[in-house]
C-alpha cells in the first residue's frame, strides 16, 4: 500500500531524515515512536507533501507520489491529521468537515451522516465555530475531516498530544474501529507507548532521523522501547 524507500528530507542545508524505508500494508497500523525533535513530524509532513523529499521515493499502490503536490496526494488517497489538529477555527464544525470533501463532494450527505454517527459530539456542535471546541473535540473533528476524503492511507501526527488520559483510551479503540471499518492503512507518530501498544501492527522507533528499532504486534518489547523514549 504505502511504501517509503530510502527517503531523505532536509530544511535547507540541515538534513532531518536520513534515508528511511518502511512499508505499511492495507489494513495495518504502523506506529512511529520517538522523543521530541527526532524527526517524526518532518517525516509525517513529507508523507503528505508539505515537506519535499530531497531524494528517495514515496509510493502509494506502486504509484510514485514523491513529486506530487500536497493536494494531489489527497486526491490520490492520502489524508492527514496534523500535530496540534489545525482545524479551521473560524469555520463552523460542519464547514470544517466539508473542507475534507474536496474530491468526494458527490457523496456529501452520506459522508456527513457517517461522520456524525462516528462522532456524535460533532453533530451536537455542528454550527459552532471550530475554535470553540475542546482539544479532544477538535481532535475528533480533525479525524472526521480527514476521513470524509475516503482515504486509503491516514497519517496521524501525535494524536494524543494535549488530550486527557481517559480520552486516549477511547481514541485507541476508535482508531482500531476505523482501521477495520474502512480497511485503512494508518501511519501514526506517537510518544505515548501504552497508546501505540494497543493499536500498532508494526512499530518503529525513530532517533535523529533514522529508524533504530522495529517490532511487530505480539512481540513488542515494551522495556526496550521505554528506554529509547526516556530522556
Amino acid at each position: 500500500m504505502l511504501s517509503v524507500k530510502n527517503l531523505y528530507v532536509a530544511y535547507g542545508q540541515s538534513e532531518i531524515i536520513h534515508g528511511i524505508s518502511f512499508e505499511a500494508k492495507q489494513g495495518e497500523i504502523v506506529a512511529i515512536m520517538g522523543r521530541n525533535g527526532m524527526g517524526k513530524t518532518t517525516l509525517m509532513k513529507s508523507l503528505i507533501g508539505i515537506n519535499r523529499a530531497r531524494s528517495g521515493h514515496i509510493e502509494l499502490n506502486n504509484e510514485d507520489i514523491t513529486e506530487l503536490p500536497t493536494y494531489m496526494r489527497v486526491k490520490n488517497g492520502v489524508a492527514y491529521v496534523p500535530q496540534g489538529r489545525q482545524i479551521f477555527s473560524s469555520l463552523t464544525v460542519e464547514e470544517n468537515i466539508l473542507t475534507g470533501m474536496e474530491y468526494t463532494l458527490d457523496k456529501k450527505e452520506e459522508l456527513l451522516t457517517n461522520a456524525y454517527n462516528m462522532f456524535p459530539v460533532l453533530f451536537d456542535m455542528s454550527t459552532r465555530k471550530g475554535g470553540n471546541l475542546s482539544g479532544g473535540q477538535q481532535q475528533q473533528l480533525a479525524i472526521a475531516r480527514a476521513l470524509v476524503a475516503e482515504p486509503k492511507v491516514l497519517i496521524l501526527d501525535e494524536p494524543t498530544e494535549g488530550i486527557q488520559p481517559s480520552i486516549i483510551k477511547d481514541m485507541a479503540r476508535m482508531l482500531n474501529q476505523i482501521k477495520v471499518m474502512h480497511n485503512l492503512t494508518i501511519v501514526v507518530s506517537e510518544q505515548v507507548l501504552n497508546f501505540t501498544v494497543n493499536i500498532a501492527d508494526r512499530l518503529y522507533v525513530m532517533e535523529s532521523g533514522n529508524f533504530i528499532h522495529e517490532d511487530v504486534r505480539g512481540s513488542i518489547d515494551e522495556k526496550k522501547i521505554t528506554s529509547y523514549l526516556s530522556v
Partner: protein
C-alpha cells in the same frame, strides 16, 4: 469646544427644513461615491484577505471596465441604436469579464511568482498599473471619453419640492447592493467561498485537505479584478473616463479597506459608506479639498485609537 462651534457655525445660514433637504440630497450624491468605493474596495479586500497581496493596479482594472463600457456604448450607438436603453446591462457583464480575464493573466504571469514577498508584489503591481495606464493612452488617446447613457438613467426623482435625487445614483446603489450580496453568497454559501475561507485561515492545512490553493488564488485575484471592472462600468454613469481615471480612486479605496479592517467584507461596507457620506455632505458646506482634509483627519484619529480598523477579525487560532 471651538470645533463644535465651527460645525454649528457652517449650518447657521440654513433653516432646519433646508438642512434636512441638503442632507438627503448630498446623502444621495454620497451614495454614488459609496457605490464605486464599495465595488472597488470589495475586490481589493478579497484579494488582500486571500493572499496578502496589495494590488496597486486595482484602479487600472476599473479603467479597463470603464473603457469596455465606453466602447460598447459607441458600438451600440453606431450600429444598433435601438438597443441603447438596454446595452448597459450587457456592458456591466462585459466590463466584469474583461477585467476578470486581465486579472487572471496578471496573476498567472506575475503575481503568482511573488507570493510571500509582499514588497515585491507591491512594486510589481505598481509596474503593471503603469503599463496598463500607458496602454490605455496608446489605444484610446489621452482625452476623456464618456459612454452614452440610456435615457432612463439620466433624469432625477423628486419626492418633495426641495429634494431631487438623480436616477443614476439609485441605479448605482442597487447595483452595488446586488454585487455585495453576490460576493457574500459566494463567500459563505459556495464551495469556492469555503476554499477561500479555509485558505485564508491556514494555507498549509488547506492544501492538506486537498484544496488547490494556487488555483483558489488565481480565481480570487481574477474575481477581485472583475469587481473593479464592474466599478468601472458604474463609474461611467457619474464621470468621464481617461487613462488615469482609476488611479484617482485607488488611494481612496485603500483608505476604505484599511479603515474597514483589512479583509473584512462587513467592515469594508461600513467604511465605504461612512467615508463617502462624510465626504459628500461636508463638500456641500466646505470646499472639496477641506472636506477631504476633515475626513482624512477623522480617519487618522480613529485609526490611532483602533489600528485594526472598524471591524477586525478576532478569532482564537
Amino acid at each position: 469646544m471651538s470645533g463644535t462651534l465651527f460645525f454649528l457655525d457652517i449650518f447657521k445660514d440654513y433653516s432646519s427644513d433646508e438642512l434636512s433637504s441638503i442632507f438627503v440630497m448630498q446623502g444621495f450624491s454620497g451614495i454614488s461615491l459609496f457605490s464605486v468605493f464599495l465595488l472597488m474596495a470589495l475586490g481589493l479586500a478579497i484579494i488582500f484577505g486571500q493572499m496578502k497581496v496589495i494590488n496597486m493596479a486595482h484602479g487600472e482594472f476599473l479603467t479597463a471596465g470603464a473603457y469596455t463600457t465606453v466602447l460598447l456604448s459607441d458600438l451600440v450607438t453606431k450600429y444598433i441604436p435601438a438597443a441603447l436603453p438596454y446595452y448597459f446591462f450587457i456592458a456591466i457583464m462585459m466590463a466584469f469579464f474583461v477585467a476578470f480575464i486581465l486579472g487572471y493573466i496578471v496573476e498567472k504571469l506575475i503575481v503568482s511568482y511573488l507570493y510571500e514577498r509582499p514588497l515585491d508584489t507591491l512594486l510589481a503591481t505598481w509596474g503593471v498599473s503603469m503599463v496598463m495606464q500607458q496602454s490605455f493612452r496608446l489605444i484610446f488617446g489621452a482625452r476623456e471619453d464618456s459612454a452614452t447613457m440610456p435615457e432612463w438613467l439620466m433624469g432625477s426623482w423628486s419626492p418633495t419640492e426641495s429634494i431631487s435625487i438623480p436616477i443614476n445614483g439609485l441605479f448605482l446603489l442597487l447595483m452595488s447592493i446586488l454585487m455585495t450580496t453576490i460576493v457574500l453568497l459566494l463567500m459563505y454559501r459556495s464551495r469556492w467561498g469555503l476554499r477561500v475561507r479555509a485558505t485564508v485561515q491556514n494555507r498549509e492545512m488547506s492544501t492538506a485537505v486537498g484544496i488547490n490553493s494556487k488555483k483558489v488564488d488565481r480565481w480570487t485575484f481574477a474575481l477581485g479584478c472583475g469587481l473593479a471592472g464592474i466599478a468601472g462600468a458604474a463609474f461611467t454613469t457619474i464621470g468621464s473616463v481617461s487613462p488615469s481615471a482609476g488611479s484617482l480612486y485607488i488611494v481612496d479605496t485603500f483608505i476604505v479597506v484599511v479603515f474597514g479592517g483589512a479583509g473584512s467584507i462587513i467592515g469594508t461596507i461600513l467604511s465605504a459608506f461612512g467615508i463617502a457620506q462624510a465626504q459628500s455632505i461636508l463638500e456641500f458646506f466646505l470646499t472639496g479639498v477641506l472636506a477631504k482634509v476633515f475626513v482624512l483627519l477623522a480617519i487618522v484619529g480613529i485609526l490611532m485609537i483602533r489600528p485594526q480598523g472598524i471591524v477586525a477579525n478576532k478569532v482564537r487560532q
